[in-house]
Structure formats: structure tokens, C-alpha cells
Amino acid sequence: MNAVTGTGIGASVRRKEDYRFITGQGTYTDDINRPGQLHAYFVRSPHAFAKIKSIDTAAAKASAGVVAVFTGQELAADKVGGLICGWTVTGKDGTPHKAPPHPAIALDTARCVGDQVAVVIATTKEIARDAGEKIVVDYDVLQAVVDPVDTLKPNAPQLHAEAPGNLCYDWEFGDRASTDAGFAKAAHVVKLDLINNRLSPNPMEPRVAIGEHDRATDTTTCYSTSQNPHVLRLILCAFIFGLPEHKVRVVAPDVGGGFGSKIFCYAEEVVCVWASRKLNKPVKWTSDRSEAFLTDAHGRDHVTHAELALDKDGKFLALKCSTIANMGAYLSTFASCVPSYLYALLLAGQYTTPAIYAEVKAVFTNTTPVDAYRGAGRPEATYVVERLVEVAARQLNMDPAEIRKKNFIAPDAFPYQTPVAVAYDSGQYELSMNEALKMVDYKGFAGRRAESEKRGMLRGIGFAAYIEACGIAPSAVVGSLGAGVGLWESASVRFNPTGSVSVFTGSHSHGQGHETTFAQVVSEKMGVPIEQIDIVHGDTQRIPMGMGTYGSRSLAVGGSAIVKACDKLIAKGKKIAAHLMEAAVDDVEFDAGMFKVAGTDKSVPIGQVCFTAYVPHNYPADLEPGFEENAFYDPSNFTYPAGTHIAEVEVDPGSGHVTIAKWVAVDDFGNVINPMVVEGQVHGGVAQGVGQAMLEGVVYDKASGQLLTGSFMDYTMPRADDLPNFDVGMTHTPCPHNPLGVKGCGEAGAIAAPAALMNAITDALGVEIDMPATPEKVWRAAQGKVRALAAE
């Protein structure tokens, strides 16, 4: 840590952003109201699949206070482009995925419950909603299909003419021949059928969009609950409206959680921006929670068959899996890459498995679109690998820790080339696992299990040794895999004349604490206390450029860009300091805020250098004034955090209730800037993973396609009394290829937790069940175990 400031790297500095949040002064998008603002209400399809025969808007239009009613026809007439998918996945047969048209308001067909059918713009929210109920839509209701397996059947309803058989893509990855060879020589083969349940992200803040057009400058502003304002601007400009980017501003102020669901460009943003330009009035839409369940992109929804081949000693020889991934009714912004490149490339896990093959069919159904949700593909991969490994240990009667250690990639094998394209940067997998075993008191587990059984309870323990890939990059590689964007990040670090610092970052903070941790990085680098450093984000007009926050990339990529900008400032500062001290530039060193001439007692503080740069009365002749630098950073590789989570549960066979008795997480995120913040990210990730494993699951009625889990009354969110305290430990294996040596921590908990918990619950029960392990499922499964124990 920086000795001068005490607020540098490694300090659990209390968050700078907290004061406004704990006093109610945060500014979320719904807190913004623009002069003359109108309100939008969307009429949505109540049917999962229906032809729209006619829409009668006359009564709504005639209502007092209604300014306009629009349908898809008006958007089409104005040549408003449809929503896009920014990543093209190429299938087995060499053809690109099918991305059927996705109009912001449906034209002639509604393909899921909640699909936009019309929008009412009125002077108040209440008037808009009341008028919306006067719109009469004549539907020809069609048979819907919601299940990803059913939708591939020959007689299934067909969603899009552009996607025959409802197939988005049929994709494969890995080496089939070497994988088959591994299975041919296997002593044991473990087979599992797994369902990765569909989830609703549910950030506590519902989405909001405000469009506002300024005729004076012909500039349109979109206030949005976005994780990546520049990406949203790019999509709105280049694909939806054909507007130049300098005429569109996207502002994403305080955002109340995202978890992936606020990465995407949604219909409501398009409509509010378009309507504000058409009506020359600001237009605002605020989602209610029911709309959020229907329209925020969902996560997961895989059906997988997986197999692991082992030799007689428990060494992994090969892994293969076949997955059907539900894309929902349309292809969302980055949906295609989630069950392909963010999934199959992680199937090596922490192991030396020499041959891997995966095939994925992505399919359309009459459901809400599915896209990236905390972890995005990586939790699904970890679930496949870690469930297979655990079941292998059980079938071979091996200790689940030992079978993992036997197959771990050794610490001296890095960089490690996996058989699924990616090369891991660094890791010490056994170190993390040993720490976790110690923390959970693994040796004492048998005694604890016996004690539980005395009380009529079933105890189980489960492991997840997960791998994550963060900071997806470099741009050239992701481009070759089909990404339509570069995955760099930008930063601008500006010292103001009197020494305070403004840092402009393209990363976006919506709970991650960047205003503190990024300031710590600058504090460490430049020797300035964090009170004098402001992190500015979330406004395309203030931040030069950016790619936003997702995939645990902010620190590894965005933080590295900040470091690069700081390095440029230090280099410039040395020239100024050398001039002031009448020394050679090469003799000037910089440390903890002071420029010094090596081997002398001459020094000038950074504040003086900065002031001199703006008041250059005594200044190097060939140097530009000013003390501000920009930098872009494009990583040379992903970075690969990893770790071991261990869950210990007690199951009440009488009620099916599962109590999480212990949760140990030992993660290796490389170097850590703020341990307090990082532990908080682990807690939150684990809570979402526990939610997936035990509580959450989006349910559609198969016959009607209706969403049955459409509110917090029906969709079980984790509450305080569902969760334990988490025992969090860390090991630190720095990332070798970014300047901070950091990996990423945002998604790890959500990646590790479902596998660890399901391994523990199935260990207790002695039989396989699918997520979510609800009390009913657990109770049914427990009855067999109770009978077996009674017979012993």
C-alpha cells in the first residue's frame, strides 16, 4: 500500500459512493424528470404466440391527456431498425446463426408474453396506462412452444421463417476424434443429464429509459439504466437510427444493479428515443416489476447431456457434452456467444483433461429472450464439469477432494494451453483447495455427519473447483470468434491545476464500487489521497469512449487503461520535474507523489508539477502544457480467476428443508485492490448461485406459454433467512499480463455456488435431483435415503 496516502492498493477503504446512497441522495434514472416530460406505457401481448390481426387505437387516442399512440407500423414507416445481436456464431455447417428480425414493437406477430404491441404516450403515467387499456388488439392465437427440447421436434410450432426448425445455430467446439479416442480407452464413464434452470436477473432497480431531443443542437439524449452507455449509443446510432454518434448522448447515472440484464439494448430505449424525436418532448418509461419479469433478458436455460471418461486411477481422459440452449423468442444483444464461446471454452475447468468436445444447439421458443446473466456461460460450464467430477468420485469411491487434486493443472504448468482453445494465464488450484479444506474442517465432516444422523438429519458436503474467464479479449481474437465489437477499455486521467484529479472511465459502476477502487489505483500510482480523486463514469458526453461493465472486466481492463494513462502522466511529469530541478529526465524518479533526482535530495511534489503544467511560465520549450492523458487498453488474453467453494448442508428429511451449515469460499483473484469490496462481490455472487440451486427458477406453462413466475410472489428471491454467513478466504496468484496483476471477482460466486450446493445436497440425499432443489423435490428424494438408513 502507498505509505503516503494510506488509501492505495490493498486497503479496505470505505466506499466513497456510500454517503449519497445511505442518505437517499443517489440519482437513479427514475429520479430524473425532464421539463415537459411525457410518459410511455407499453401495451404488451398477453399471448405467447399470436398473429396480430388488427389494433384499434381510436379510443386511446381520444382520451384526454394522450399525446400519441404508436404501433410497429409507425416505427417501420420511419425506418427504425430492429434490435440486433452483436456476436455472430458460425455453426457446424459453416453458416452464420439465424438472427430473425426483432422489431422494437411487433409488426404482425407477437412471439412471447410481454412482446411490445403498441405504446401510449401521455402527460402522466396513469393516463398512459388507463388509455393503454382502451386499445383493442385482435389476436389470432397460435400454439406456443416454451421448452427448448420440444421446440426442436418436427411438429413444433415455428417461430420465425428465417430459422427453420426453430434452430438458431448448431455449433460444435473441440476435437471430436481425440475425445472419442479418450472414451474408447476409458475404464469408467460417468454420464449425467443436467438442467441449468432459467433465471430472472432481478436487479432491485427496474429498468428506465428517457428520450429527450434538443432541437437547438439536434442532439438526442437517452437516460438509461445501462451497464455500458457507449455500447448502447453505438447500437442506437449505427444499427437502430442511423444517427451520427456525436448527436446522441447516453447517460447512465446511478444504476441499481445489473448482473448482465442491463448490458443489452432494449425495445423501450429505442421507442423512448424515437418518440422523443418525433414529438419533440422528453418521453419517459419506467418498468414495473411485472414488466421486468417479462422483458429483462433471462439467464441460463440449458438442457445438457454430459459424459466424463476416466482411467482406472481416476485421471480424466476426455469430456464431452451436448447442450440445447434456449434463446427465447428473439436473439438478444449478446445472446449467441453465451452458450457457445463463454461456455464450451471453459469445459477444461481446473483440470488436465486432454480431450474435450461440445456441441450446442441454440433454439428459439415463445419465451423472453435469454442473454448474459452473472457468469454467462461459465456457471453452466462449471456446473457440467463439477457435477461430473463429484459424481465420478462417488462412483469410483474416491474422495472428492483427492480426485480433483489428482487432475489439477500443476502450478508450474502455466501458461497452460487447454484443449478448448484458451490458454490459462496463472493459477495455484491445489493451494486454494487446501485452504478451503482447512477452513471447512474437512477432516471433521464424518463426525458432523454422524451427529446429524443421530438427530434424524441428512448431512452432505459438496465441492466446486471453478474456473472463470474474465476480461474477454484481445479484440482480434474475439473478432475472429464472431464478436462485432472490440473489447478494450478507455480511460482519461486529468489533474486539475490545483491538484485534484478527475478520472474518466468507460467502465460503469452499478454496485461494484469503482468510485473507490479505481480511485485507490490512482492514489497508489500518483501518490494523491483518494479524497482528491473523482471517478467519472456513465455519460458518453463526459467520458471519451468506453465498452462498459460485464464479464468481470472492469478492473482487469478498465483499471489497466487507468494505469496506462497514469504512466503517461508520470512520463510527462518527469520532463516537467527535470526542467524545474535542472536535471536530466533520465535521472528523475517518481515515487509516492514525489519526483526526485536519483541520488540527490532534490525533489518536487506532483502538485507542483501539475500546477506548472497549467501555469507554464518556467517550462520545457518543446512540451505541451496541461496534465491530462488518455489511454486505451486491449488485454493480450483473458484472465482466469479460480478457486474452491465448499458447501455443507443439513437436510431435514421430514420437511425437505435444506439448511446451509457452512459455506467456505477460497478464491484467487490475483492481486486485490480493496479486500472489503472483493469479499462483498463474493457474498453477492454466492447468494445468486444459492438462489439458482435452491430457490429460483422461471416457469412457463407449457400449454399456454404463460409466465407463471411473474412477480416476487411467485419467483423465489433469496432472502436474509435463506442464507448463511459466508466464510471467505483468498489466495493471490497475480495475472501476469496486466499491469495490476488483477483478475476479476464479480461473477465467481455465481459460477461456483450452484455446483457446490447441488453436490452437497445430492451427497446428503444419495440421489440426483435438478435445480432448484426446492423443499418438495428434496423431500421426495429424501424418502428413499431415510428408508435406506432405516434398513441399515
Partner: protein
């Protein structure tokens, strides 16, 4: 329209509102106190909790008219003369918030929990928070913060 009057954060206020106006709309839209949030439409999430006559109330669940004449405290009214309430301090000290959206309701609920039961246990806290959802923190640090604040508040 109906005239609804009450005292909010010590200030007497009066507004003409539609009779169907919820207390949370009155607070957010008419008084422009946007610290109180709306996170759901089924009274499940607790982002809108305020104090009405000393009781924690989900302000999305009562009409403004039902609070006629009441003393209402919102998150903006907790700090006195620039000094944070011990619960606010504890949330910051224990990193009990991330995105901050559930935080105002969480803090208002927590204060009521502690005031009703100053000696509350961890189990009491977890059970008492059943009406408040947080998607970021996994509740771990919220529970710690409330336990710490309970001590400061004189439990």
C-alpha cells in the same frame, strides 16, 4: 383531487393529489424526495420502507390519504445536522450496500427492528429482514451492520 397533508422529515407539507395516489408516489413524485425507491409492485421488496408515526411501513402499500396528519420519516430525514444515524454509519462501515437501491428501505426497516428489539440476535435480524430484498450483498454485511448499529443505538 384531494388535499393530503402530513409532516415529512419535520416539515409540514400539503399537496393536492388524485385519491389513488400511493404514499410512495406522494413522497417521490409530489415531494420530490427520491431516496425512497420502488422495486416491485407486490409489496415484496421493501425498497419503499419509510416510518409512519414511528412504525416501518411499505409506502407502496398505503395510500397517501391514509397517512393524512401523520409524522413521516424518510431516508432523507435520518441524518440530523449533518450527523448520520448510527444505522447509516454502520451500513457504510460494514460495506452493507453495493448498488444502493435497496439501501434506504433496508436502513429504515433495520432501525425499526432494533428499536423494537434492542437485544436482537443474528436470527432475529435475518428473520426481521424478510420483507426487504437485496440482490447485491447476500445480506452477510447487512446483518453485520445491523448487529453493530444495535450496539451503538444502546442495545
Amino acid at each position: 383531487m384531494a388535499t393530503v397533508s402530513m409532516t415529512v422529515n419535520g416539515n409540514k407539507v400539503s399537496r393536492d393529489v388524485e385519491p389513488r395516489t400511493l404514499l410512495v408516489q406522494y413522497i417521490r413524485e409530489h415531494l420530490e424526495l427520491t431516496g425512497t425507491h420502488v422495486g416491485c409492485d407486490t409489496s415484496q421488496c421493501g425498497a419503499c420502507v419509510v416510518h409512519v408515526d414511528g412504525q416501518s411501513v411499505k409506502s407502496c402499500t398505503i395510500l397517501a390519504a391514509q397517512a393524512e396528519g401523520s409524522q413521516v420519516t424518510t431516508i432523507e430525514g435520518l441524518a440530523k445536522d449533518g450527523k448520520l444515524h448510527p444505522m447509516q454509519e454502520a451500513f457504510r462501515e460494514h460495506h452493507a450496500l453495493q448498488c444502493g437501491f435497496c439501501t434506504p428501505g433496508m436502513i429504515m426497516s433495520a432501525i425499526d427492528l432494533v428499536e423494537k428489539n434492542p437485544k436482537l440476535t443474528e436470527e432475529d435480524i435475518r428473520h426481521g429482514l424478510e420483507g426487504n430484498l437485496c440482490r447485491c450483498t447476500g445480506y452477510h454485511n447487512i446483518v453485520k451492520a445491523i448487529a453493530a448499529a444495535a450496539k451503538t443505538m444502546g442495545g
